[in-house]
Every structure is written in C-alpha cells, then in structure tokens.
C-alpha cells in the first residue's frame, strides 16, 4: 500500500476491532472451552493470542512460535541434566535469546558504529524485547527450581496477549501457578467488573491524555532534529509534555493489560505506582516500569554484585545496569545516554542517602526531593525522545536559554491561532517566548495532564489492585473515590468510554511498541 496506513501497527488495545470483536470472542471462547477442560481453554487462548500477534504481520508469528518451542525444549532438559550441564544449557539458552534480540534490534547499530554513520531504524518484530526478557526469566526460574513444566500452560504464559507485546514482564512464578489453578476457569464476575474498570481507566489515559499531547511534542523534537532554533519555553514545554505523554501512554497500556488479564481471571503484576509522585530517583525506579526494574535488578544488577561490594562497585553496577536498561529500549545512543544518565542519578541518590543517614525527611525536604526527581526525570526524557544526541543537546541548550531563538519567530503551528484571533494570546508574546513549534495550548494541555498525574489517584489506587507491587507506601487513601460496583462508577466509566469511543478513529500507536 502506498499511502500512509495504520495496518502494519496491528490490532492494538485501543482499536474498535480489538475492543468489540477480538476481545469478546477471545474471552467467550476461553470460558466456553473451559467448561470442557482447562486444557482446552489454555490451548485456545494461546492460539487466540498468537492470532492477535499475527494481525501485525503474519510471517513474523513464526518467531514467537519458534521461541516458545526452543525455550521449552531447553527448560525441559534442566531436570534431566546434572548441575554443570544444566548450567551450560542455561547459558546457551540465555545467549540464544539475547542473540535473536541483538540480531533484529542491534545489528545495524553495531555496524553503523564501525561504518561511522547514523544507525537506521531497525524493523524489530513486535514484542521481541519483552518476550526475550520473559523467556530469560523463565529459563532462570526453571533452572533454579528444577521444576517440570507442561507445554500448554508455558505456551500460554509466554503468548498470553494482554502482556505479549508491551509487558508487564511477567515471571513464570507469578503466572504459571495461576494458569494451573482450576478455579480460574470459571467466570468470575468480580474479576470481570474490576477488569472492565481497570481496562477503561487505562484506555482513557492513553486515548484522552497521551494522544492529545503527542501532536504538541512532535514538532519541537522534529525541529530540534533539523537544527531549528527553540525558545526555552518550547524546550521545557516539549520535555514536560513528552514525560506526561509517555507516562500516560505506557501506564495506560499496562493498566489495560492488567484489566484484560482479569477478564481471564489472571492477575498480572502492576507496572506503575504513580511514579511522578516519587521523592527520589531510587523511589522513582521502584514505581516506573516496575517489571523492567525488577528484571534489571534480578538479572543484571544482583549478578554483577549489587550493593554488596562497596560503594564504588555499587556505583559501577548501577551505571552498567541502567545503561544496559537504556540500550534495551532501542538501538540508539540517545537510549544509552538516557540509561547512563539515570545510572548517574541513582549513584548520586545513593551517595546522598549515605550522607544524610536514615533520618525521616521533613515535608520541605520531601518537596525538594520530589521537585528535583521530577525535573531530573524530565531532563532525561529529552534523550529518550530526541532523534539523536545532537537534537537532545540542542533541546538541553534551549532549556538553558541558548536555543538560538531570535525573539521574533515565525509561528509554524496553528494551535494558538484561535486564541490569537480572539485576543487571548498576543502574537508578539508567541513570537518572542513560545517560538515556532510550541504553543500556549500545548502548555495548558501539558499542565493539565501533569496535574492529573500529580493529584488524581492512580488506577491501581482507585481499584485497590495490588498484584506484584514491591511495597505499598506509595498508596494514598482514596476515600470515597475508591472503586466499587456502584451506579456513580458505572456513570463515570460510561462517560470515559464514550469519550474514548468518540476518539477511536484517531490512529496512534503505543509508544512502548517500538522498544
């Protein structure tokens, strides 16, 4: 097809065909066949999950299928081999998984380093980054426990469509036992009601907030990629806006995954715990993409020695772990820089904690900690979103007031046109302060989105869903807002879904699909 199309993006959770066709059919088939036997339900849901994947690009379904077969074969040998041979096989398994990921995702990047050119945009098979980590965690788990695994539950564990393509990165120890429990194959209306609620709240985050911010973020980062001058307000505005966009996009997706899991009576772990309310970088990484943080901690940081070998070694381990974590997001120096930046921040945070001791911080210190954490996170996001290091540096310079804006910029986005015509925004103000690619509308929308993130309780707080959370100190008392099957909540959900439905035609994809 020649024209722009969304067909290659697959059937995403926020498309009408997924919500109204695929999902009801998949849930109905699962429970109808569960009446005959749980095994039939497991096989069916594995097949529907692969069909979900196939929607994106049919030939690529071979990859998860082969990955499932190969990893199962390796895992099934652990119980038959002696310790040394099993360990060797584990290493082979991990290397093979990483090699497949490296081939698809990093080959061109590595070649580009030697050739001294810019890396191209690799076509990474959907879900590869996530399933690679899921498979590695599975192999390590089975190796350690020497447990026997049946093929069908394992295949469903890997392929289960709610977490297949963008996480959360689930562990066999979390999902495997649930898949084996017979009572989960009966329809549970409590889970369906809760699942529909969490799914709708996640969908609203994605469609009503993240997607509204996307068109404001793009022009500023594109301008930076082209070396265009930027005002400080534009650079800060776009960095804040992208931070909010990414948070609502990915946490919305994770909420939807949890909600979908509940429709099948399976409880997936939460992935976000209101990270924008974190008061330190250490705290932030316990609340942002929790399943990835957990993986990096258990499979990179701890094996490297963690914090047990002194402060200097811990700093190195943190730096290495976060840099690799950055690289996992994409084959680009910007991601490496982002990971390294967070490695440095974590090191500073640990040093600060050691200096300060374990005293309970005052309210003012907590506020200062929150502000510093949030600003540092936003600055890091510039690397995450920028097309290359040059563009990131340009935006950072603009944030410092050295973006090269002349004070009489040509207005190139039309968002403020109406307010200028009505006299609410002066054209001179826009030319001098806002610049060519940002807008007052973008600023207001960003402020609104951030207020929602700061003030309104998170989905998991409202619904009191706690599966897999590392600690519960982040939760606030939501009082009367707490979800319960009631008429007011029904109205809220109906209104939210109605608003989402009216916007479903705007084709966007989840940001985390590309990682």
């Amino acid at each position: 097809m020649t024209g722009p199309t969304n067909s290659r993006h697959g059937m995403l959770f926020h498309t009408s065909e997924f919500i109204f066709l695929f999902l009801p059919a998949a849930v109905a088939l699962h429970f109808i066949l569960a009446r005959h036997s749980p095994h039939a339900a497991i096989v069916t849901t594995t097949i529907t999950s692969l069909a979900f994947y196939t929607w994106w690009r049919p030939p690529f379904v071979l990859l998860p299928v082969l990955s499932i077969l190969a990893n199962f074969w390796i895992a099934s040998y652990f119980t038959r081999l002696d310790e040394r041979a099993a360990k060797r096989l584990l290493i082979v398994g991990i290397v093979a998984n990483v090699a497949v990921l490296a081939w698809f995702k990093y080959a061109d990047f590595v070649v580009s380093i030697f050739e001294g050119r810019k890396p191209g945009l690799p076509e990474v098979p959907l879900a590869l980054s996530f399933t690679t980590f899921v498979q590695i965690a599975f192999l390590v788990d089975i190796y350690r426990r020497k447990a026997r695994v049946e093929f069908a539950p394992y295949a469903m564990f890997v392929a289960f469509f709610p977490h297949l393509i963008a996480g959360p990165i689930v562990r066999w120890s979390e999902l495997g036992p649930q898949i084996a429990e017979k009572f989960r194959y009966r329809v549970d209306w409590n889970n369906i009601a809760l699942g529909l609620t969490i799914f709708t709240l996640g969908l609203s985050k994605k469609v009503l907030i993240a997607d509204r911010l996307a068109p404001h973020v793009g022009p500023v980062f594109e301008a930076a990629a082209n070396g265009a001058p930027l005002t400080a307000i534009a650079a800060w505005g776009a960095a804040f806006a992208y931070s909010a966009q990414l948070y609502f996009d990915f946490s919305g997706y994770s909420d939807m995954a949890v909600g979908l899991g509940l429709l099948f009576n399976l409880r997936l772990p939460i992935n976000f715990a209101a990270p924008f309310r974190a008061t330190s970088i250490i705290d932030l990484w316990r609340r942002w993409h929790i399943s990835l943080s957990r993986f990096l901690r258990d499979f990179i940081y701890v094996p490297l020695g963690g914090g047990a070998k002194g402060a200097a070694r811990r700093s190195f381990n943190l730096f290495a772990t976060m840099t690799l974590g950055g690289l996992w997001h994409g084959a680009n120096w910007t991601f490496i820089a982002w990971g390294a930046f967070h490695g440095v921040l974590l090191t500073i945070n640990h040093a600060w904690r050691k200096l300060r001791g374990e005293r309970e911080p005052t309210r003012a210190r907590r506020f200062a900690g929150w502000l510093a954490t949030f600003i540092a996170f936003v600055i890091g996001m510039v690397f995450f979103r920028a097309a290359d290091i040059g563009a990131a540096v340009l935006i950072l310079k603009a944030m410092a007031g050295f973006g090269g804006a002349t004070g009489n910029e040509e207005i190139k986005v039309a968002w403020d046109f109406w307010s200028m015509r009505m006299g609410y925004v002066s054209e001179d103000f826009a030319r001098v302060w806002i610049g060519s690619h940002w807008s007052v509308v973008g600023s207001l929308l960003t402020a609104g989105a951030l207020l929602v993130a700061f003030i309104i309780p998170d989905t998991m707080e409202l619904t009191d869903y706690r599966e897999g959370e590392p600690h519960s100190q982040w939760r606030r008392n939501v009082g009367l807002l707490a979800w319960r099957p009631s008429f007011p909540w029904l109205v809220v959900l109906a209104l939210l879904f109605g608003a989402v439905f009216a916007n479903l035609l705007q084709f966007t994809e989840f940001l985390y699909y590309q990682f």
Binding site: S7, A193, W489, F497, A502
Partner: protein
C-alpha cells in the same frame, strides 16, 4: 450493586453505543459509502471510493486517466479525451488528491486492465504545487480512504471502520443539510393550511436552518490565517519518491504520461512565498518533465476563477491545449515546460 449487575450494565452500554453508532453510520452515511447515490447530498463524501465505484461501473473501457485534486474535476472528459486522442477518459480527481492517492489508483487500474488483457494508453497527472509534500488525506480522514481493491486493505477492515466510526459532527452536518434541502424543496404553504390561523401572529417568522456558507467562510479564514499558514512540507521526500514510482510504472507499461501543475490564482499564491512553490516544481521536474503553470499573470482576471482556488472550465481547456500542443495554442507565457522531455 452486585458486581454481575455492574458488569452487565457496562457491557450493555458498550453494546448500545456500538449498535447505535453502526445504525447512525448506515442510515446517515456521511461519506456516501453505503449508498453512493446520495453522494451529492452528503457533507463528507469519500470521493476516492466513489471514483473507484465509477470506474468499476462505467469506466473500465477508458483508455486514459486524469489524476488531480478537486481542480481536476473542472476538466471536461470529452475534451480531455479529444486532446489526448483517445476514445474515453476516466477522471480520478479527488478532493485534496495527492500522489499518495494517484499512485495506488494507477497501479490498480493497470493491474485490473491487464487481468482483462487491456492496456492503458495515456495519463494526465495534475499536481497542486501548493500541497505537494504536505500531509495527505489518503487513508487518514474518513473521507479519504481508498477502496480496499486499490489500497490492498482487507475489505472487512474498510467496512468496519465506516460502520463503527463515531462521527457526531458529520452526522449532524449531514442531517442539517438533508433537512435544509427538504425544506427548500417543499412547496410553500400558508399557515392557514395548517389549521392554526390564530397562532400565525404569535409565531416568529420561521426560516430554514442556514447552512454555513463554505466559500466565504473559508476565504475569510484564509485571509486571517495567512500570517500563520507557513508552507510546511514534511513529506516532500516521500512524495517525490512516490512520483518517481508513478513515472516508472507508466514507463514500464508504455503509458504516455503528461505531468502538469495546476495554476495558482494570485489570491491563493499570496499565501505562499512565491519562490518556494517554484523550488518544489523544479525538484519535480528533475524526476519528470513538468508543465509548470505557476502563478500565471495572464489568468489574473477574476473571470478565470470560480473561487480563489479553482479555475473555470474555460481555463481547463486552455491548459489542456497548452500541454498537448494544440494548433492555435494559448499564449506562450502561460506555463513553462521544465525538465528534459
């Protein structure tokens, strides 16, 4: 409330929302895809799909194609056919038509004709230089989706989209247009005939709902918008590539290709930096010889224009005469052939 009741009520709401949306789309049909016969009465007709249907129904024997934007609709088919020396021309001009529309359509027609052992002889491609490289409508807006046979999209996906799109404004505008049309067509009846003479003095004078007048409103907006309407061509490279492919497809299939730009009126051109469209025309001419009509001074008089954007059928004929080198051709200062033939 029991959780089961809660879940049922919410699912019922979803079903109702979907069902009513589907019904509204099929009945109101703002894009005229369900009943193409109502296209004239619709506010958001999908001209791309309608052009496809037109070709399927009565254009398959065409020997030549005309591609363009809404400006291409001004050309009279018989005149185009006569100037190109073919028996019949199929017009594939569509609203805001761009190379993203034209290339898949050309490929489809060549494919379709080949399956019947026929060949295309000639193609006229008219590009709007002011829009070249800008984000297209193709497969983005609801009125811009190509027919599945043209785009390669699965028909189920195409139809699912039109059935499930929640398009409140388009529904409302279509209903208003329909009501306005019926009121305008209805014979005037004195109030007495309604059997309520006493009410006549009490009722305010009733007028049919006024449709927004597209033309003046658009012109006014453009006027004010001028300062901000910066020419942004984020997709110029992609569109040049598609154009190169278009030329290559014509070459491979032995199709005579004529490429021209549509002339810009002085009013329209004032919104752009005059040099900028010329640069784009130059880049196009590096790919294919281009009849560039630019901002022709000879067409400065208002009588040549239907509005600030569209020229008259008379001008269309003059343009055709110029590019086909008809005897007694129009003034030489109208249009220049850029690039090597």
């Amino acid at each position: 409330m029991r959780t089961r009741t809660f879940a049922f009520c919410f699912l019922a709401f979803l079903a109702l929302l979907l069902g009513s949306t589907m019904a509204a789309n099929v009945i109101i049909d703002p894009e005229a895809v369900f009943d193409p016969g109502r296209a004239e009465m619709r506010v958001n007709s999908n001209s791309r799909y309608l052009r496809y249907l037109e070709y399927r129904e009565k254009g398959r024997d065409a020997e030549a194609l005309l591609f363009g934007s809404s400006r291409g609709n001004i050309f009279e088919r018989d005149v185009v056919a006569q100037r190109l020396g073919v028996a019949k021309v199929q017009n594939f001009s569509v609203t805001y038509g761009m190379i993203t529309d034209h290339l898949p359509t050309l490929e489809y027609v060549i494919r379709e004709k080949a399956s019947r052992g026929e060949k295309l002889k000639s193609v006229v491609l008219m590009l709007d230089i002011a829009h070249f490289g800008k984000p297209p409508w193709t497969n983005i807006n609801l009125d811009g989706f190509l027919a599945p046979e043209v785009s390669g999209e699965h028909p189920a996906r195409f139809w699912w989209r039109y059935v499930t799109a929640f398009q409140f404004r388009a529904w409302r505008a279509t209903i208003r247009k329909e009501v306005g049309r019926r009121v305008a067509e209805a014979p005037e009846r004195p109030l007495r005939s309604l059997g309520a003479p006493a009410l006549a003095g009490m009722l305010p004078a009733w007028r049919p709902p006024q449709l927004p007048l597209a033309q003046p409103a658009a012109a006014e907006t453009k006027q004010v918008q001028r300062r901000y309407d910066v020419v942004l061509r984020p997709m110029v490279h992609a569109h040049l590539k598609l154009l190169a492919r278009f030329v290559e497809v014509c070459r491979q299939n032995g199709v005579a290709l004529t490429v021209m730009t549509s002339p810009l009126s002085r009013a329209n051109a004032s919104m752009y930096d005059a040099e900028e469209p010329r640069r784009v025309a130059h880049r196009i001419s590096e790919i294919v010889p281009l009849w560039d009509f630019g901002i022709p001074a000879v067409l400065d008089r208002g009588e040549f224009w239907l509005d600030y954007s569209h020229f008259t059928p008379g001008v269309a004929r003059i343009l055709l005469d110029r590019v086909t080198g008809q005897p007694g051709a129009p003034p030489e200062e109208l249009g220049v052939l850029r690039g090597r033939p």
